[in-house]
């Protein structure tokens, strides 16, 4: 288990460092990406996805990932997309912003924690949608 912790620390650090150096944590940069005013971040993401697609296909790992369609995908993604556009941060980015000293990310992250918990309650009590995930509901 210690190996897992060390790896997670290493990966978390690398991802955080990279996201910061890419400018994904800069609201202005992200906003420009979404408005097509500056294609750099878009190309970054597309390049990463393209390279990874090649890796996944070449190694056969592609078959080990399962993301079937489920009811929550469209509504959830709508909410996430809207939130991302306004806050300029997706979950990982908010944490990197905290590390960078962007105090406003405290508010963003607090909202994310609240939203996550809210979904757990709403899903357990009313929606009961299966998200095809082994994580605790």
């Amino acid at each position: 288990m210690r190996r897992v912790y060390l790896l997670l620390a290493a990966f978390g650090f690398s991802l955080g460092y990279s996201l910061s150096r890419m400018g994904f944590t800069d609201f202005g940069e992200v906003n420009r990406m979404f408005r097509f005013a500056d294609l750099r971040l878009f190309l970054t993401f597309a390049c990463g996805a393209a390279l990874l697609t090649g890796v996944m296909a070449a190694t056969g790992w592609r078959r080990r990932i399962h993301r079937p369609l489920h009811k929550g995908i469209v509504p959830g993604s709508c909410l996430f997309g809207a939130g991302w556009a306004i806050a300029g941060a997706c979950p990982g980015v908010a944490l990197v912003q905290l590390g960078e000293g962007q105090g406003a990310a405290l508010v963003t992250f607090a909202g994310m924690l609240f939203g996550t918990q809210l979904h757990r309650i709403v899903n357990a009590r009313w929606l009961k949608w299966d998200r095809n995930s082994c994580d605790a509901p």
Binding site: V4, L7, L8, A9, F11, G12, F13, G16, Y17, S18, L19, S20, R21, M22, G23, R35, L41, L43, T44, C47, G48, L51, L52, M56, R64, R67, L69, I73, P75, G76, S77, C78, F80, G81, A82, G83, W84, A85, P91, G92, L95, V96, G99, E100, G101, Q102, A104, T108, G111, G115, T116, L118, H119, V122, N123, R131, S133, C134, D135, A136
Partner: protein, 220 residues
């Protein structure tokens, strides 16, 4: 361009793309599960259930071990004829190949051991640490409690702007859990695996974000 990178400007797209790919690929290789940040956030929040899941698996471990030992002793004492016909190996390994049929229909990839709550703490704080070091190394670290200029351009500086930021965060938290993934889980790894769920999710969240940003414009 190299000068840009060295001078501390934002990375060119190929460098960012390569690092995203390498991180996601080695993560999958070494940890044998897909990278997904919103999952960590979810497990951070669901501490109680996560702990229970870990405990339940540990109990199964012991049970499995006990059965295995019983089996071995029966074999030793009475020979193979004494063992019942069922051949299901009682596996305590982290590779769930043998237990694939026990997953209740869940995809094999995800039928893995529950990670304890501390994994979320470690991963998420490492994200923050990465951001910290990246900023400090460039001498750009200045902790502040202000909204970014572009944000202020769009939404102002008042209380409403802060409430909006919180609400947007709620949307992100709620939405990523409802969709079962975020930019890394669905967008990067899911799409790279050409999975329908992820391709749809990514198209929707990017589409909505783009539409919203375009209509908001540049603000003041």
């Amino acid at each position: 361009m190299t000068r840009d990178v060295l001078a501390g400007g934002y990375w060119p797209f190929w460098l960012g793309g390569m690092s995203l790919c390498m991180i996601a690929a080695t993560y999958l290789l070494l940890l044998r599960r897909p990278l997904g940040v919103s999952g960590f956030v979810s497990r951070l929040v669901a501490k109680g259930e996560q702990d229970a899941a870990v405990e339940a698996e540990r109990a199964l471990d012991d049970h499995g071990r006990m059965l295995a030992e019983l089996k071995a002793e029966t074999l030793a004492e009475f020979g193979a004829a004494a063992l019942p016909d069922c051949d299901a190996p009682v596996s305590t390994s982290t590779d769930c190949d043998a237990a694939a049929t026990d997953t209740g229909g869940r995809p094999r990839e995800q039928a893995q051991r529950a990670w304890p709550w501390w994994t979320s703490v470690v991963f998420l704080s490492s994200l923050a640490l990465g951001g910290f070091i990246a900023t400090v190394v460039r001498g750009a670290y200045e902790p502040r409690l202000t909204l970014s200029p572009e944000y202020r351009n769009l939404f102002g500086d008042g209380v409403a702007a802060w409430i909006l930021l919180f609400t947007a965060g709620v949307g992100v938290g709620f939405g990523t859990r409802m969709a079962g993934g975020c930019t890394s889980g669905h967008g990067l790894v899911g799409c790279a695996s050409l999975r329908p769920g992820s391709l749809l999710a990514t198209a929707v969240f990017f589409g909505i974000a783009i539409a919203l940003s375009l209509s908001l414009g540049e603000g003041a």
